[in-house]
Symmetry: D2
Subunit: 461 residues, 4 copies
């Protein structure tokens, strides 16, 4: 089979090498972008008179027919044609003849693949933003549902202070908002179109790069042809965005694996999100959560691969760059799937009020509020902290809670403690007493929920 | 020595554990940020009446004195006080007594360290932007200096097409511009202030978070206390920005290591940027370039560390997070130093016209232009490509260049080749013939240099 | 200050470059190895007549004096001398004059640093083996202490089957045994001595490499000079060994963070291994465990750095290699410290029988044993599994345990269930019923403990 | 479709979850190992009387038939059966009925997958050793072919000393020998069989683990069931071995990309190992070398993924572990293919004597030998080094080589230089003068070649 570069060559490629160097088995993922780019290119070639309008029309029609065939699974990809670009171009030439041999004018696979990947990256970023919005909606809806249900907040996985479950759920909404902001920045950072950079130096033909950039949704052409064909920053940046989302999902999954463990029992996942054991008949395992957590590993691996790939690579294009595709395709798929699964889990989870209430009674969650109460009575915080530390120590020894201590006993530690101390003892009282912006009081959390509802509604087209 | 949390404890910490858990040996890097945060906090506590104005004044004065002592190297950091926060607070209490014990009111080390790190991150981002601008200036100045000097552009490290050296140099300016854009996005992504989030749930005291946020240069407080104390996205994002800059620098270093190798000899680094060998007397090695390339490895390592650290960490704060500092401090230092070294190297490099000219005569750099010439005469590109491939193959066998072939011989391959073909043969002619935006023609490159001069001037204060 | 390579140079090194390229601020860690290597080298030079015996004696005496000074902190390391090698050699020349200028004969810093690092690696491997043995002893001792205490084994962090706590503890002993095996292999893989490879090609002087190899504890010299100076496999392999140990420690730490969380309460760490909170007076946090878990991140980062550093590095020595030291030094320190902390924690942990017993009553830990009981009565396992699954489902709905079901009720599911079923219901019965090698029955676990006691005794010289 | 664990469940798995949790699309790679394990297990179950001999015979026959179908591509893998284990077991039950439902007795998917992966790892290690031996043979054969061809050895990519090309080639043989040693250690480290560990705790049925271990080629069963089902050390270790081989290959590829670049021209790859450009007709690119170099990135990514996956994972089995397969399968494939390509490249490369000779005349490769010559005349090495440095500096200024200097001129630098100095000037003389073990002299290199021929012959069965 004739290679697109066979003119200069006297020997046939080794089959081993053909298999080793081919990319069509995975870069076919880019067919939409490749065809869109070729259509824009062909139209521009006609606009500038480099090819005739008639040739351009035949090329565009041919490309559309090929796209249709690919979508319908009727296109025969051939390894011998190396990559998606040559597969499509060869099919075009076969279908429409001579005009097909003109499509690659003033273009190289170097700028073509840079374009395809950038278009794909922008598509992924937009799709991820939209999935993350769905996930945020699921969290906000659940936060609205759970009302004033209380749970212990943990630091070091030890009970710290009482919080609203809704407040806990909204913490994840914040994380995904940052992920969305990063993806938005990625869209800003990829507003320039590499098409027309040629192999490395541009072209001697009178092409119009502003026209193709505009047709393909970019703000402008790239400024430097050498840089344009060797730039893969955008793939690294997408891999980083994906890594951050995967990391956030892994923290959520870890929490819920622990919270759904039999000892905690804070929440219950529906059976349809769980699987069982081939040997232990009683098991209902949170496999989906574990896989979400586990998939983080492959996403980090992809980021590592891309950065390693690019380190110390001489300018401009090197074939190493072919290795940029599989990791990023895989990572995007893993995160997209994980977001869907998380959205389903958040939507269907049930919190167990009895277990949560019981947990709130343990761990002296009101100790900090007690110390702050004493601050209100004029005790320096460090002294209040020390005094409450001693009270807690004695309570642990005696196996009692702070709110069960008689006032007299409390006053023995500090005369600043008065009757109104009952206002800050017990988890429900503590929660009600929070006053700072962003804290876990019912009024603060209501404000946050309202904010997110507005925010998410505004972003739903 | 009294720990800030000793009230509840009956046993002394093990010395091994004290050493294992301390962080002051490295988090002292944050003293400026820690003190700035404490001053803002103390002033706010007075504004809201939580402490007296007089106490606040004494606290602020005490903190300023401590800052002065640290800057002058007269501050005695103690491991037993664990971290920078407690070292400063303990010194304050020792110096000003009781008011010092009030500073930590309505604050936890959890929100304090989140604040310190975020302030530090913003400072680093701004400083990196400014260093990268200097580096861009060095490249643009050199591009202005080299005039119309020509070199081969490489793809696959094989000669591809002739380009202007200036065009080559500007490719790096593009990379660093993307790095700057990412750092700018990082500044946007870190506009919210975590101070006032307390340990995890906020506080029952009537603090004013908008006030501290404003004092510290943030746009607003964070929205969710739980998220605020466990968020380290910004460190990962800085590590990623650093990785990308390191990667770009490594590609530059790799190129120049090769270009300064004896076989290429394209450029010469001054001796003051090189070192010699302890055994081989003749050596002048480009060690600085190699170290720039090598330092990429530790920056990637830091990014890996941070992402690994955060994966699957339960909410909210966990002590694992203490491990976030050393990698990012180290990576920031490595990249900052590398940028300085690169700026010096770019400013002092000398290009070797003789070697560059000789290289441009090899490798059939005008083959693409010849094919494009034939396209201009109506030959479909694929056919032109094949024909030129055959011409080149025969030239290689005969050991001659394209421009040395008599017109008759060329016409034997294709009658479309006419006398005007000489316009696109030979490297200098090819360069002059480039027409596309962003290509390597003298007029395009002049435009690019002018653009960068304007752009960089506008960004110089 | 005169550089060891200044002869060929006309310009002074830039101060920025001097600071950027120096390594003595960290490679001083290698002083023991560097001096040992130099002593062996000097003695060999005398043996072969390259220098006089008298010169060699003065060199050796000078080096020993320098070693003493360094150990006692009285040696003045100078940045201008770049690295540990030149610092020592310059000091030697200053102290003993002309003979000192002969030490570097037939040697380059390239083979010298390869030697130093390999010696250091072997020392670290041996030290790690010995620390891991201590840690194993702590686990085995604790396993011996806890007797037949029972706990739930978890899969997916859900209760799976009852096991002995001792069995659980021994699982970690297995992991560290594999770590030790890997470190042992590393010692095997580093039995060849690079000294005498020169800069890259060997030397024209009649040195005796077998002699220096033997003196330094190696089995033989390396076979290929080019490879010897560019080989850093052993550092990567050490970094990998460290990563695996860190990973094992992180799994242990994760388990114990969860097990010591208030909801589980399976175990209690002594206060001397915990720290408190600056704001929450009641807290006792397992910080040491969290830091052990967290430090895994930096160890992985170091492995990443080393591998990235070496990728695509042209032969033979490149200055990038200087970047090999800090990550591996840091990783070795992190793991060594973590092992010590873990040994202390394992030695002092207290298991909470009440909480463990309570946990064993939940989660239907005897379900698998019931299914296997039915297999014993001739039911195909898949059918038994399905039947027990249904029993469990009904028990969950009714809120009862398997062992509380009357025999009649059980028989309604399968007539194969008879009176002797009580032998496999209830956690203690299940444990007693395990029969397979390596299982969690008391007799199997006793055997394992005995094995480890013997094994560890044998390895304590 | 009935799940193997459906008894306890009331709800159907969500299709999204089914797709998210399935592994059969990739773990089918393990079918050979899975069936081998099941056959050994079934035979053991019969030996111990847990199932009848007749049932075992039907199971074994059924499994063999399934294996045949899979090999011939006639087996219908079903996503709904989740994984390779259940696909095979379900097919078995369908084909042979009731006995098929007995196969999973005293076994869990937890020990089953641990077994499959360990068997696969051992198979890969053995195959990699054998491929690496082929690659070594190619290098040794080429080293034998090139005779006393000379090239410059590089440090810092600057000419250092003259060496034999054969010596250079043998450096890679050393690297692959270390890779083989590590793979050999991996085989030692994986000599224990996890089968029979059950889900986590072993089994109450009277199985014989020594029997299955022996049948499957292991030395013994694992000692601790808990550890056995959660151990994935061996996958990490394989990933590390692969990373090291990939790293070595990347260094080789980098060298040859540079050496085959037009400016060096040291070697020429056959066209059948190269590809061309779609736009530049003259190009012959070393794509295979670049891809070998690039594939290192994905192998490192796989190692990162595996280590990240395991960090902080609670004991024992967690579903995260399902993510262990794709990265390691991919990495093994990448390295295996790269070795094949490298073997082909080494076998067919042609060195260019003219270019090598020309390169040896540049760079003062004989400077070190001259300094060592002076050492032989009694000059301390440091002084000799300084003097030669000055000579070289003057030669560079004058544009002459060392060997072209008249004796008188040399003696002006040092009277120790005499007529016999010609013996060490000029690359060929220097090479002949090397004397140390492992150096690049013809006699040393002949010894090395002889060693490798013997060594490789001995290892060819």
């Amino acid at each position: 089979m004739e290679k697109p570069w066979s003119g200069r060559f006297g020997e046939e490629t080794l089959p081993l090498v053909e298999r080793f160097t081919e990319s069509v088995s995975f870069d076919r993922e880019l067919f939409e972008e490749d065809i869109a780019g070729s259509i824009a290119h062909a139209e521009m070639l006609a606009e500038t008179g480099i090819i005739s309008r008639k040739d351009a029309r035949r090329i565009v029609a041919g490309l559309r027919a090929i796209r249709r065939d690919i979508v319908q699974g009727r296109f025969d990809f051939k390894l011998a044609f190396e990559d998606i670009h040559m597969n499509i171009e060869a099919a075009l030439a076969e279908r429409i003849g001579k005009p097909g041999r003109k499509l690659h004018t003033a273009r190289s696979r170097n700028d073509q693949i840079a374009l395809d990947l950038k278009l794909w990256t922008r598509k992924q970023a937009a799709a991820l933003i939209s999935s993350l919005r769905e996930l945020q909606r699921a969290f906000v809806a659940k936060a609205g549902e759970v009302g004033e249900l209380i749970m212990p907040a943990f630091t070091h996985l030890q009970p710290a202070q009482p919080i609203l479950v809704a407040h806990y759920l909204l913490a994840f909404v914040e994380m995904f908002e940052r992920d969305i902001a990063r993806l938005g920045s990625l869209l800003d950072h990829t507003a320039d179109c590499p098409l027309g950079s040629g192999a490395v130096a541009g072209t001697t033909l009178p092409i119009n790069r502003k026209s193709t950039a505009r047709k393909l949704g970019f703000a402008r052409p790239t400024r430097n042809s050498l840089d344009a064909v060797s730039d893969r920053d955008f793939l690294c940046e997408l891999a980083f965005c994906l890594s951050m989302t995967a990391m956030h999902l892994s923290r959520w999954a870890e929490d819920w694996v622990i919270f759904s463990s039999e000892r905690y029992g804070f929440l219950d996942l529906p059976e349809k999100l769980c699987t069982g054991s081939s040997i232990m008949p009683q098991k209902k395992n949170p496999d989906t959560l574990e896989l979400v957590r586990g998939k983080t590993a492959r996403v980090y691996g992809a980021l590592t691969s891309l950065l390693v790939l690019l380190k110390g690579l001489p300018l401009s294009y090197d074939r190493d760059l072919q290795e940029d595709k599989e990791p990023i395709f895989d990572a995007a798929r893993a995160v997209t799937d994980s977001i869907s699964v998380a959205t389903a889990a958040v939507g269907t989870v049930a919190f167990n009020r009895k277990r949560l209430d019981a947990a709130c009674e343990q761990g002296y969650l009101d100790a900090t509020a007690l110390a702050e109460y004493m601050v209100g009575k004029g005790v320096p915080f460090r002294d209040a902290h020390r005094i409450v530390g001693q009270i807690v120590r004695n309570c642990i020894a005696a196996g009692v809670t702070l709110s069960s201590l008689p006032l007299e006993e409390l006053r023995a530690y500090s005369p600043t403690i008065e009757k109104d101390v009952c206002r800050v003892l017990g988890p429900r009282n503590v929660v009600a007493a929070y006053r700072s912006d962003g804290s876990s009081s019912p009024s603060q959390v209501r404000k946050q929920i309202a904010f997110w509802r507005r925010h998410l509604r505004a972003r739903k087209k």
